[in-house]
């Protein structure tokens, strides 16, 4: 789902043919760029020609320019990032697809992790470009300042950042200055020199002024360009130019006020009226002006073009000459002169109507508010919500509604409910509940209409979400079930939403069978509503549930079926099956079919590049971590687990294997039990704790830590409790793992009969579904136990597990192989800057003779990213090419 983007914000104003050429400034900008400065700061008050200068330079600097005009709404970091990505996509269409997808989620990951992904993609772009952020003074948010500081600190070489602003941004400017990484143009640089003033007044504005007159004007305005432009406009067509200059330079009045009055006086009355009345519009086009003025003698489009031609501070917002705005300063002055005539509300209402009819709900809202029509504004806020929610403007929307009188909001149950939803999305559960209660009061006063009859169910649903937010599963279930009861029969959307919430909540309670039923119901609803892709996509969650239930064969079948259906549906549906291929890869890996696993990983990587599913990066990293772990590449596995944690996007699928617990298990395998013990302490886990299903993985990990410590007190009892719960809920996958842990614990306590008994039960449950890795992954202790088991059952002629035990034993790697892994991460001493793990990984693949494209497919990286890594590897190894890099790495003992 693409983010709705206002394209006029990405429009770089074309260099104006009427602008005064400013070679001295262009030269300074060029020099800064050539010297490799990271940032150009153009900081000066309004009317100093910042935008004009930057756009002229950008057009001629020899690099493509990415332009973003900021406004107050960009104070929301998610929106800022969305626009930043959209702006970057004007020079590189494929940049930031993954980051955009992550931003779509209601609770996106930390801005820095999105930025990191984005910066890596930028680093790999072959050509340099400049990134212009115009009107940065409209940003009043620490979060954005932090984002930008982070961006600057990690700015890859292809990018040069340009900031145009009326006030210095909160960035580490002193540091950049000290390091010589900053080009700075300030008011003193930007003001017109006498020569530039003469050029402007005489050539551009067509006046024939003497040097003395130019000097007088230049002095009076202190080289302020807007002032000079207003002065020039006041003089055009005037007979007594000398008289004007004398009066102007002799006056003590505020320059601007004086000049705007003079400029307006020079215009015909209908143009004056046009300028004043249209000044209430933040941006304008011909038809909008017509709607506001209702005066055929000043046709909108024609008049706008005329005003632009007359150099009257009108800024075009697109290349079709459709949308314009007044120069901010001029607009402010016009609005002040317009004042508050009695007809002002009518102008606003007409502007409101036009915008509403043309889909501009945000602007319609502001005009309704300015007109004092709160009822209309409330209706518009209600209507604008869905789009604003998609457009990350929850905060902005909440700001709007705050401007409405409480009584107006409270009388509209629909708006109350939407407001509650917005507070829930913003994580403010108490405020949400307050507005739900207001909604109920408002509903009690009226009879349900067609429009309001879904509200009771929606209220219950939001309460369910609020309960989920604070981790109260019982309340979540209660309210979601209530929502299902209250939802009108025909409202598929509500039913589906309630069903899926219910399903995921039941999942978190471990009731996988109920959860599966709810998911099936949801998928049927989706099919019926024509959302086949949703139904196909959700099969991966179904497969996850089946795996927990130990039904690997069924999971495999469901995934394959979904992939076939997606292929029949077309490429868009196919892209959602990246998760499915990943699921098949993990299943094949579990069943010991490495070739099939590799194949599915490859398909998953390829589709993953196109997927928009928000948790793709997280799942991919987790799956890779499991693969590396099973290969014994512990450090790589730990890195990938960290990466998974950083790329996690909050979503309703419960986290059943917390990253830190998973890392603790890797530490144990790596022989670093102290790290694993530290984890149990930080989590405050004790074997005597009551454990619910979401804690199962952590407590099984605790049992393993105790096993490694040789501290067995209470461990078997803990495992018994976990086993009882898992068996009651038919979670065979959990049952097998618990039994295997128990077998290892008994083995460590030298209680062989108990160990073998537990192992036999585990094997009996695992055999029909063909589990391999769950045992083989346990390493040498399990191998020894299996060998014992086989020697015991060998005496029996036809033990049903004989063949299975043999197959498993054959799947263990020979003990010598596992020792060689740590050498990989040992760093060579001859390097100035060590290689990162990712770079080492790529280096290995290069040494194995893989092409860049192959490496990209294997590691799920864009080709350009691989090339970027290569350049850094070559740089660090001081090599010119792949062959040299490999030779040098061998010398250093890196390979």
């Amino acid at each position: 789902m693409p983010v709705p983007i206002l394209v006029t914000k990405l429009y770089a104003p074309p260099p104006s043919p009427k602008a005064v050429p400013r070679p001295r400034l262009i030269e300074r900008l060029d020099k800064g760029l050539a010297a490799g400065h990271k940032l150009t700061l153009v900081s000066a008050p309004a009317g100093f020609g910042k935008t004009t200068l930057v756009s002229e330079w950008a057009a001629g600097c020899g690099r493509p320019a990415v332009w973003l005009s900021l406004d107050e709404a960009d104070n929301d970091p998610a929106r800022f990032l969305a626009y930043l990505i959209a702006a970057l996509q004007t020079v590189a269409t494929d940049v930031g697809a993954g980051a955009s997808a992550a931003l779509q989620s209601p609770q996106p990951p930390a801005v820095e992790s999105i930025l990191t992904v984005l910066l890596n993609e930028i680093a790999a772009m072959p050509d340099g470009f400049i990134l212009v952020l115009d009107d940065y003074h409209l940003i009043d948010s620490k979060a954005i300042d932090h984002t930008l500081t982070f961006l600057l600190d990690h700015l890859p070489p292809p990018v040069h950042l340009v900031i145009a602003t009326r006030e210095d941004p909160s960035l580490p400017l002193a540091r950049l200055r000290a390091r010589g990484q900053l080009t700075e143009l300030r008011a003193a640089d930007l003001q017109f020199t006498p020569a530039e003033a003469a050029e402007f007044l005489n050539r551009v504005m067509g006046l024939a002024l003497s040097d003395g007159d130019v000097a007088a004007l230049e002095t009076r305005t202190e080289g302020w360009i807007a002032g000079l432009q207003l002065a020039a406009l006041s003089m055009q067509g005037r007979d007594d130019v000398a008289g004007f200059i004398e009066a102007f330079t002799g006056s003590h009045r505020f320059v601007l006020d004086y000049l705007v009055e003079e400029v307006l006086k020079q215009q015909p009355e209908r143009i004056q009226i046009f300028l004043l009345r249209t000044s209430i519009l933040a941006r304008m086009c011909g038809p909008l002006c017509d709607a506001v003025l209702l005066d055929p003698s000043v046709p909108g489009q024609e008049t706008l073009e005329r005003i632009e031609h007359a150099n009257l501070f009108l800024v075009p917002l697109d290349s079709e000459r459709r949308w314009y705005r007044y120069h901010h300063l001029f607009g402010d002055l016009l609005r002040r002169r317009l004042g508050k005539p009695p007809e002002l509300a009518d102008y606003h209402l007409r502007a409101c109507e036009w915008h509403e009819a043309n889909g501009g709900l945000a602007e319609a809202f502001h005009h309704a508010l300015a007109a004092g029509d709160f009822e209309r504004a409330a209706g518009l806020a209600e209507a604008a919500w869905p789009e604003m929610e998609r457009n990350f403007q929850t905060t902005v929307w909440l700001g709007w509604v705050e401007e409405l009188p409480n009584a107006v909001v409270g009388s509209r149950p629909g708006l109350c409910v939407t407001l509650a939803r917005a507070w829930t999305d913003a994580g403010e559960v108490d405020k949400s509940e307050t507005w739900l209660q207001n909604a109920e009061r408002a509903l009690a006063r009226e009879t349900l209409t067609d429009k309001s009859k879904t509200l009771p169910a929606t209220i219950a649903l939001i309460r369910g979400d609020n309960a989920q937010n604070v981790g109260n599963l019982a309340e979540t279930l209660r309210y979601t079930e209530l929502a299902l009861q209250l939802a009108p029969e025909e409202d598929m959307y509500l039913h589906a939403h309630a069903a899926i919430t219910l399903g995921f909540t039941q999942w978190a309670t471990g009731d996988l069978e109920a959860s599966l039923r709810a998911l099936y119901a949801w998928m049927e609803d989706m099919e019926e509503m024509g959302n086949r892709e949703f139904a196909i996509a959700s099969v991966f969650a179904m497969a996850d549930m089946l795996v927990i239930l130990g039904r690997l064969g069924e999971a495999d079948k469901a995934l394959r079926q979904a992939i076939r259906r997606a292929e029949a549906q077309g490429p868009e549906a196919e892209a959602v099956t990246a998760h499915h291929h990943l699921g098949l890869a993990l299943l094949a890996h579990e069943r010991g079919d490495d070739a099939a696993a590799a194949r599915h990983f490859e398909s998953a990587a390829e589709l993953g590049r196109r997927t928009t599913l928000i948790d793709w990066h997280y799942r991919w990293n987790l799956a890779q971590a499991r693969l590396r772990e099973s290969e014994g590449a512990w450090d790589a596995a730990l890195d990938l687990l960290d990466e998974a944690g950083q790329t996690y996007v909050k979503n309703p699928i419960p986290i059943l294997r917390p990253i830190e617990a998973h890392k603790a298990r890797v530490y144990l395998k790596q022989g670093r039990p102290d790290m694993a013990v530290a984890w149990t302490r930080s989590r405050g886990l004790a074997v005597s704790d009551e454990v619910t299903y979401p804690g199962e993985y952590e407590y099984l990990t605790l049992a393993r830590v105790r096993l490694a410590e040789g501290n067995f007190a209470g461990v078997d009892e803990l495992l018994e409790r976990l086993l009882t719960a898992a068996e009651a809920q038919k979670r065979t996958g959990s049952v097998i793992e618990i039994l295997l842990t128990r077998a290892l614990v008994h083995q460590a306590r030298n209680d062989l009969p108990q160990a073998l008994a537990a192992l036999e039960r585990a094997l009996a449950a695992a055999e029909p579904e063909g589990y391999v890795h769950i045992l083989v992954g346990e390493g040498d202790a399990m191998r020894r136990l299996l060998l014992k088991f086989r020697s015991v059952i060998e005496k029996q002629t036809a033990h049903p597990l004989k063949g299975y035990a043999g197959k498993l034993l054959a799947a263990f790697p020979s003990p010598i192989e596992t020792g060689s892994q740590t050498a990989i991460t040992k760093q060579g001493d001859g390097l100035i800057e060590p290689l990162t793990n990712r770079e080492l990984e790529i280096l290995h693949l290069i040494a194995e003779g893989h092409s860049n494209a192959e490496i990209g497919r294997r590691l799920f990286l864009a080709l350009s990213t691989v090339k970027g890594h290569n350049l850094r590897i070559f740089g660090k190894l001081q090599a010119q090419n792949r062959t040299e890099a490999v030779a040098r790495a061998r010398e250093l003992g890196l390979l």
């Binding site: 309004a46 009317g47 009326r166 003590h252 009045r253 505020f254 006020d257 002040r336």
Partner: protein
């Protein structure tokens, strides 16, 4: 009498140049005084820091040159006998 926390503080904002008095409502009701030295004083209650920064932004956006900003104590009420 010291103004308590809850009371808005008055501020005196000095800008260079003469700003005509009809600009007063643009600056949310501040009193405009023209000084003989060519500066203009904008004086009046400012409810909090956010409002003060808002005013300073208006000064910035009009391209006015800011000379000084001073909190001033509210006039004490006339002593009652």
């Amino acid at each position: 009498m010291k103004p308590t926390q809850a009371q808005p503080t008055s501020y005196e904002i000095r800008v260079a140049g003469h700003l005509p008095p009809h600009w007063a409502d643009w600056f949310e009701g501040l009193t405009i005084t023209l000084e003989e030295d060519g500066d203009t004083l904008l004086t009046g209650p400012v409810i909090d820091q956010a409002a003060l920064h808002g005013l300073l932004k208006k000064v910035r956006d009009l391209g006015l040159s800011l000379v000084s900003v001073c909190p001033v104590e509210a006039e004490p009420p006339a002593a009652q006998l």
